[in-house]
């Protein structure tokens, strides 16, 4: 009989001794080179953290390789970050250089610290989920290949946090990212009238629609969708499997910019729509990669030091963002959901471009 409710392993049993000794007594940190953090404690002791990129979708063998490295250099202590990077934790300064050499030889990117692009928080995509409008790991890999240098250097105005979610559920929490890549459907769910009566609960299906596009058809124990009111969010499908809306020709990706989470300088804020639609073009999504790269580069060359993407755009104005990036502004950029009027420009304080 299995034990239940034992909870996760106690993190205290996982802490390297240098951390156990200096827990809560760190004094300051430095980043001597990209991917290397040095934390100095009140005691004077130092902790070296070496951060390496990871595809997140990793095999057990890959994990074992990571373990082997950690055992060799870190007495078997490591951690993962909140953005899915690997961090090797060392007490011994002398082991840092050899560790870096081994990581380099094994092809681990080291970086993601300071004013860099860190790992892309992302989701399941076609690998495991049932509602994706695009893949997750694929676009991330294609993108990171292209912007690899921004991971291993710290030359941006501030860090740029990129996330991808493969559908509007936004498991990648892309809604507050400097740059967000979001899979979107663009066709109305196809109601399978033979299955709805058996697998779906009509009232909760009706309630699931944010725009009220679904009506119950009690006589036929099914539902109907008002095409004009549907914006393809897929929430009905989550609730009612007999309403699929994936569509190879019309699913694709939208790009969002200017969100942030930290309270540094400016308040946390949502990402805003930059590009309403780019096609799914596997395996390397060139349109998406180019679009993101373009935004990064325009940001890199125009933002002031320490300005996050959104802070830069707020300073120069959205008119300027669109003119500098060359992204066309369309009626889709203008909100038309419930709090839309809050985003309308109620002043004459705008720029000509």
């Amino acid at each position: 009989m299995a034990k239940t409710d034992i909870g996760p392993p106690d993190y205290k049993t996982m802490l390297p001794p240098v951390i156990a000794r200096n827990y809560g007594k760190w004094r300051y940190h430095e980043i001597p080179q990209p991917g290397v953090l040095v934390h100095t404690a009140d005691s004077g002791e130092k902790l070296y953290s070496v951060r390496a990129g990871s595809p997140r979708l990793v095999s057990t063998d890959h994990i074992r390789e990571i373990c082997a490295i950690a055992e060799k250099y870190c007495d078997g202590y490591l951690r993962f970050t909140s953005r899915h990077n690997i961090e090797f934790l060392l007490a011994d300064k002398d082991k840092v250089a050899p560790l870096l050499a081994e990581l380099e030889s094994k092809g681990y990117p080291v970086g993601g610290t300071g004013h860099a692009i860190s790992n892309v928080v992302h989701t399941q995509g076609w690998v495991h989920c049932h509602t994706p409008a695009t893949d997750a790991s694929g676009p991330v890999k294609a993108l990171m290949d292209e912007i690899y240098d921004y991971f291993t250097t710290m030359k941006l105005p501030n860090h740029v946090r990129i996330a991808l979610a493969c559908c509007l559920n936004m498991c990648g929490a892309v809604h507050c990212s400097d740059i967000a890549i979001l899979g979107i459907h663009r066709t109305v769910p196809k109601v399978d009238n033979t299955r709805v009566p058996n697998v779906c609960e009509i009232p909760s299906t009706v309630a699931s629609c944010p725009t009220g596009a679904i009506r119950g058809d009690m006589k036929n124990k099914t539902v109907t969708v008002n095409d004009e009111k549907c914006m393809y969010c897929g929430n009905c499908y989550t609730v009612c499997p007999a309403m699929p809306l994936a569509d190879p020709d019309n699913d694709g990706i939208s790009i969002w910019v200017g969100g942030k989470v930290s309270n540094a300088r400016s308040a946390p804020s949502f990402s805003k729509l930059a590009i309403p639609f780019l096609p799914n073009n596997p395996p390397r999504w060139p349109e998406v990669v180019d679009a993101v790269k373009n935004i990064i580069e325009v940001y890199a060359s125009h933002a002031r030091k320490h300005e996050r993407v959104g802070e830069w755009i707020e300073r120069v104005g959205w008119e300027r963002f669109f003119s500098l990036t060359g992204i066309p502004f369309t009626d889709k950029h203008i909100d038309d959901f419930d709090m839309a009027t809050e985003s309308f420009h109620s002043s004459t304080l705008f720029k000509w471009s």
Binding site: P8, M14, P55, S59, W126, D135, Y148, A173, D251, P283
Partner: protein, 396 residues
């Protein structure tokens, strides 16, 4: 079994960034589930569409959560992923591992599953990607044997997570790791047996930098903060200046409240105006330390857009001292969850419920006082409700 052709995925083995395709192939070498997963993914790349059916409910004995059911819509082509469920394993708080523990996890997974994982999922769990229905229970048994338990899923408390905090960071104003672990252990039942209207997420960050993105991704966010003056080591400030930091431009001018003054020698902060944004401290970690009285701001209501649009968590307690056993905190969590549980509709997150019923109703129900810190600005519409006791009754 003959090697599958994956011409599209192969193109994702190129390039400098580590390739998940390489990992999938590695796993496929020894695991038929991984092999079929690769095949099905290649088909998705060709068809530009997912090939998973809408999830079904599967689980382990005594739990209602922790496993995500998944079935292929092409079991004819990929029989080994006909059923391909993921197990969400609660990570050790802060994602700290000793390699022996990590190796044990791998061993369990090689025995029962595809050999593929996500380290980690976006909520924080170690995600074991894909096993059959038969294997779920034995896998769970072996996991608990190895010291692991499942995380949350469905309408339950989800696996709480925390930033590295006091484990490594000089800015932790609260013990993010311990709080998170304590909550996780206290609420095992709520995690494993979904009884809420919908999911409930808790995240703990040690300071306003919010390195676990709690404000955006948690229904209940704990963010460390401080009272009292920022402590300045003027010598170190000068050292930063000497080393090339332009203190006026990079620090003072970017202070959102413009409460800093730098005359080239001394830095002055008007702490009454400081909103503790961390910017100056972030740039001069050696020179500046947060004020001495430590605690946390509690914010609630954050979530992704489904159903009525995304919400960022908002302040409900500006400052709460947090020391073990965190009774005040846990008491508040319970009061909030009880209220939500009573009034929330199915699939209604906490933030949405408050949006529907109003903060005033919420505050009264959970017994919190209204304070100006809760709002960016007071209301602009005149649609103010008064409580019955505010109104003079007509004497008739």
């Amino acid at each position: 079994m003959a090697k599958r052709e994956t011409p599209l995925l192969d193109q994702l083995e190129r390039g400098k960034w580590p390739s998940f395709v390489k990992d999938m192939k590695e796993a496929a070498e020894k695991n038929p589930m991984a092999e079929d997963l690769l095949g099905q993914l290649e088909l998705s790349y060709k068809d530009k569409i997912g090939h998973w059916k809408h999830g079904g409910i599967v689980g382990v004995k005594g739990y209602g959560s922790g496993v995500i059911g998944r079935y292929s819509d092409r079991p004819d082509l990929f029989p080994n992923v006909q059923a391909f469920h993921t197990m969400r394993v609660n990570h050790p708080t802060g994602w700290f591992y000793k390699t022996d523990a990590l190796r044990r996890l791998c061993d369990v997974w090689d025995k029962h599953g595809s050999g593929l994982t996500n380290m980690h999922g976006s909520t924080g769990d170690a995600i074991l990607l894909g096993t059959t229905t038969d294997h779920i229970q034995p896998c769970f048994d072996d996991l608990t044997e190895a010291g692991y338990d499942l995380g949350g899923s469905g309408s339950a408390l989800r696996t709480p997570s925390a930033c590295v905090g006091p484990g490594r960071c000089e800015w932790a104003c609260v013990d993010s790791l311990d709080i998170c672990y304590d909550i996780t252990m206290t609420y095992q039942d709520k995690m494993h047996r979904p009884m809420f209207p919908y999911k409930f997420k808790i995240k703990v960050s040690g300071c306003p930098n919010d390195c676990v993105a709690s404000i955006a991704r948690a229904d209940f966010a704990v963010i460390g903060t401080w009272k009292g003056d920022i402590r300045i080591d003027q010598g170190e400030v000068e050292a930063y200046a000497a080393s090339g930091l332009d203190i006026q431009k990079e620090v003072c001018d970017l202070c959102p409240t413009k409460c800093m003054e730098w005359d080239g020698k001394r830095l002055k902060i008007d702490n009454g105006d400081c909103t503790r944004c961390m910017h100056c401290i972030n740039l001069m970690s050696k020179a500046l330390r947060q004020g001495g009285e430590r605690g946390a701001t509690i914010l609630i209501g954050g979530k992704a857009p489904i159903l009525q649009g995304a919400l960022l968590s908002w302040v409900i307690v500006p400052f709460m001292k947090l020391e073990p056993p965190y009774e005040e905190l846990k008491d508040l969590i319970l009061r909030i969850q009880d209220w939500w549980d009573e009034y929330g509709k199915s699939r209604e997150r906490l933030g949405e419920l408050i949006k529907r019923l109003g903060m005033r109703v919420f505050l009264r129900a959970v017994g919190l006082p209204a304070v100006p810190q809760m709002v960016k600005a007071p209301r602009t519409n005149p649609y103010v409700f008064f409580w019955p006791e505010d109104i003079k009754k007509e004497v008739k």
